[in-house]
């Protein structure tokens, strides 16, 4: 069962430029371009929640659905491959599915600003019959997990099936591999991850991270765990920028 992860190229019969229609307007794209990006570049409004341009797409919130040739697809994952594509960003089915998604978001995260603003945009109000005892404001979009993966720590994960699924550390304990970078908290659309960021320490996931001072300017800038990562920069970003700028003009600086 040991298979190396080599990506097999798709058998594209055509490559390069293709064109098609989005809401009746002609657009062109390159084969393999993600529909969401193409649509947005051409000024079409497609709401998203679990999408982030800097992270892998997951397609789980279902907010970005569009109709392609009568099929509903999540535009954040859909690659345009055939010329003459026909995309609709609005239709009765899309309206119904968007309403369902936002209504369910309201039921799970009624206090979230992002969700409330979506509700306002699409003229929806929370349905009291769908109110739940467990409104924990987390929409399981997984951005926090993906950000942690991208940062290399993979300290947290989405755990469990169905509506019990939640973000947590292994064994339901404070995540031992967390480095205190706060990326998860900052990428969360509903701001549901609590954290403290002070001058000399950070706290998140019930863990405490004293900040280490920069050897050059003495300002606390990173946690010990962050500094312990392979290839971690041991001086703070400002000092690094200054060092790089000086290195450009002062050859002796490098020898110091």
């Amino acid at each position: 069962m040991s298979e190396p992860k080599i990506k097999t190229p798709l058998p594209e019969t055509i490559s390069g430029n293709i064109s098609g229609l989005i809401d009746g307007s002609q657009v062109s794209a390159n084969v393999g371009d993600i529909l969401l990006n193409v649509a947005r570049e051409h000024g079409f409004r497609i709401p998203t929640l679990c999408y982030h341009p800097g992270l892998t797409s997951d397609g789980n919130c279902r907010l970005c659905l569009v109709e392609v040739n009568d099929r509903l697809v999540s535009s954040c994952l859909y690659p345009l491959r055939t010329p003459g594509f026909e995309v609709k960003t609005n239709s009765p089915r899309l309206k119904r599915s968007r309403e369902l998604v936002i209504t369910l978001m309201l039921s799970r995260a009624p206090k979230s600003k992002v969700v409330l603003s979506l509700a306002e945009e699409f003229n929806l109000k929370p349905d009291p019959r769908l109110a739940r005892t467990k409104e924990d404001q987390c929409l399981r979009c997984g951005l926090c997990v993906r950000a942690c993966q991208a940062g290399g720590a993979e300290a947290i994960s989405l755990v469990g099936r169905g509506s019990e699924r939640k973000v947590c550390g292994p064994f339901f304990e404070p995540p031992i591999d967390c480095v205190g970078c706060l990326a998860c908290a900052k990428v969360c659309p509903t701001s549901v991850i609590d954290f403290i960021e002070q001058r000399d320490y950070r706290a998140i996931w019930e863990r405490h991270f004293p900040l280490v001072s920069c050897p050059i300017c003495s300002r606390p800038f990173a946690t010990q765990e962050e500094l312990a990562r392979p290839n971690a920069d041991q001086i703070c970003p400002s000092c690094r920028r200054r060092a790089m700028a000086q290195a450009l003009y002062d050859v002796d600086y490098l020898r110091r």
Binding site: M1, E3, K5, I6, K7, T8, P9, L10, P11, D58, G59, N60, C61, R62, L65, L72, V73, S74, L77, Y78, P79, R93, R96, S97, R98, E99, L100, V101, T103, L104, M105, S107, R108, D127, R129, L130, R132, L139, R140, L158, G160, R161, G162, S163, E164, R165
Partner: protein, 614 residues
């Protein structure tokens, strides 16, 4: 002994000695096992050894699919005479050995019809066409020789002489549609995989049968494992795959064991592995055990599971036949689809198209369960009318009850009312009516089944099995279930039914995978055909007498014959009346539990609404 050429193998098959002159098969399916089949087998073996004759008494531990009639187990069959015995007891062992095993005479009193000991006119079997199940009850599933004696591996030998392209053509032209539920044309999948670029290519068998009430795949994996292996070998040969996996549901340990044994046997004989029969064709096959997740029956989730990840589906904008397992071209079919392949390759596509219906060739194994007289496994040509299956094969509803609905396709399917009984069982007619054929589960419901409760049951199942990745399925099924629960527990409100329809349609449109997209079917189909029941539940009344506390019982004194079956089962002591006289229900004591309704065989007890204040 490893065969190094097809000729060697052929020679071996033709020179196989015939099996023992007479054999007794004891069905070892879960139904029969639960009724003591293993003890019966021991008893038969004991009796046989007492006679000191050279007899062969074998336990054919094939699950319910073996003889199919689980309701009448333990069952025993005899070869070559073909006698079929039902409800066999240990006390019958001696007579069976002496009369049947040694002398070849039937023990008629054990037959469904003493005048028809070979069950040639048995109502359960008559309408069936047992093609995929042809070896059930005739072979020991672990025996390679038995498989070979019943035309086993003939297809592979043919294939090796006609070449992979011809094998592929036969399957493509046969019109075979996937037996796992989707009914997708197999030929199209095979072509796409054959043409895909990438190596190695994989063939997968989906044995993750998770539909409650379905055990067709299980009976196949346990009753004729070699047929699946041969089918997959043919598939690998045709599309150019060199690796294969059979993914078996965790709850089927016997299937795992049987398949592993069969694979090992095939490997030992050189029919799996490298350089099969010296032709240079390599194909390595192994079994993978699931972890207990219904969603892993979905193809992308199944592949994720094999890769060591959570069984979460992914969107299919690039199909698995192009990029599947480990991003390689992967051909996934249900085990029953694979079992069809040797037949198609051996007999040709024209032969196959003559069975079944236009655009729906071949047969399908159905598991007929629920409130029907004869439940079990039945194999019917596609296009057979539902009524034939339910009334002829199944014998109709149990005594004192009337048919109300038929549920097809498992949790992804829907319920059909009795007016739909004349629909054909095929991949096209059922979706129009709001259900799907699915993997072949068919659940019969009678007047005591509450359709809102049925929707609640399936929605709960899907909610529990939801992988949790996408929002509509994860959150939507939970709120839908809460509302169904409200309806069944007396908290129904006006407008709940409409809300459910909205939710269901929204989930259907927006869910990421097939499980979510079809999760709406139980709700939508029951509301479509049984809306009055839903409206009644909004008002707090359950006409079926199933939802506790949502009804009262009254007894019709004209229909009640005083048998008294209802009285002792009432937990509240609410039934009064003297022996052999019609009974009465004291409504102020009635809890609305329905026990008396189940007990009554004469339809004298029925439900009525609770009056306010009672």
């Amino acid at each position: 002994m490893r065969f190094s050429t097809p000729q060697d193998f052929n020679q071996y098959i033709s020179s196989l000695p015939p099996s023992a002159a007479r054999r007794l098969w004891v069905c070892g399916g879960p139904g029969c096992l639960a009724q003591g089949a293993e003890k019966l087998l021991l008893a038969l073996r004991n009796e046989a050894s007492k006679t000191n004759k050279d007899v062969s008494c074998q336990l054919l531990a094939v699950p319910t699919g073996c003889l199919g009639l689980c309701e009448r187990g333990p069952m025993v069959a005899c070869q070559p005479e073909g006698y079929v015995y039902e409800k066999v007891k240990i006390e019958d062992a001696q007579e069976i050995v002496v009369e049947t095993l040694i002398s070849g005479r039937p023990v008629s009193r054990l037959c469904q019809d003493p005048k028809d000991p070979t069950a040639s006119n048995h109502p359960f079997y008559l309408p069936q066409k047992r093609l995929i199940m042809r070896r059930f009850g005739r072979i020991n599933p672990d025996s390679f020789e038995d498989y070979l004696r019943t035309s086993g591996y003939e297809a592979l030998l043919s294939a090796l002489s006609i070449g992979p392209l011809e094998v592929f053509s036969r399957v493509e032209n046969s019109g075979l549609r996937g037996r796992g539920g989707g009914g997708f044309p197999a030929g199209r999948k095979w072509r796409a995989c054959k043409d895909a670029i990438g190596a190695p290519k994989y063939v997968l068998a989906n044995g993750d049968e998770g539909d409650p009430g379905a055990f067709m795949n299980r009976s196949l994996m346990e009753g004729d494992p070699f047929s699946i292996i041969e089918g997959m070998t043919l598939g690998a040969y045709a599309v150019g795959a060199s690796m294969g996996y059979i993914y078996v549901r965790h709850e089927y340990p016997l299937s795992v064991e049987r398949l592993k044994l069969a694979i090992k046997t095939a490997e030992n004989f050189g029919l799996l592995g490298d350089d099969i029969l010296g032709t240079g064709f390599n194909f390595n096959l192994s079994v993978i055990e699931g972890g207990g997740a219904f969603v892993c029956g979905e193809s992308t989730a199944l592949m994720a599971s094999i890769e060591g990840r959570e069984g979460q589906p992914r969107v299919k904008y690039v199909r698995s036949v192009e990029r599947g397992l480990w991003e390689k071209p992967t051909l996934l079919q249900n085990v029953e689809s694979w079992a069809n392949i040797p037949l198609i390759v051996q007999h040709g596509s024209e032969w196959f198209k003559q069975i079944g219906a236009p655009n729906n060739p071949g047969t399908k194994i159905f598991s007929l369960v629920g409130q029907v007289k004869r439940s079990g496994l039945a194999e019917m040509p596609l296009g057979s009318i539902i009524r034939t299956l339910v009334e002829d094969v199944g014998g109709g509803p149990q005594k004192g009850r009337t048919l109300k609905a038929v549920q097809t396709g498992g949790p992804s399917g829907g319920c059909l009312p009795t007016s739909a009984l004349d629909l054909p069982l095929d991949f096209d007619s059922l979706p129009e009516a709001g259900t799907i054929m699915g993997s072949g589960g068919l659940i019969v419901m009678d007047n005591l089944s509450c359709m809102v409760d049925v929707a609640r049951y399936f929605t709960l199942f899907l909610k529990n099995e939801s992988c949790g990745k996408c929002l509509p399925c994860r959150e939507g099924l939970e709120v839908a279930f809460n509302i169904l629960d409200d309806l069944c527990c007396g908290r129904g409100q006006t407008g709940h039914s409409d809300l459910l329809v909205n939710l269901a349609q929204g989930i259907q449109d927006s869910a990421l995978c097939g499980l979510g997209q079809s999760a709406a079917n139980p709700v939508l189909s029951t509301i479509r055909y049984f809306r009055e029941e839903y409206l009644e539940h909004e008002e707090g009344f359950c006409r079926a007498g199933r939802c506790q506390g949502l009804f009262l019982v009254k007894i019709d004194r004209d229909k009640c014959n005083g048998c008294g079956a209802c009285q002792p089962v009432c937990p509240a002591g609410a039934i009064t009346g003297r022996e052999r006289e019609p009974r009465t229900v004291k409504v102020e004591k009635c809890l609305g539990c329905g026990a008396c309704l189940t007990a009554c065989r004469f339809r004298a007890a029925s439900t009525e609404r609770k009056v306010a204040g009672v």
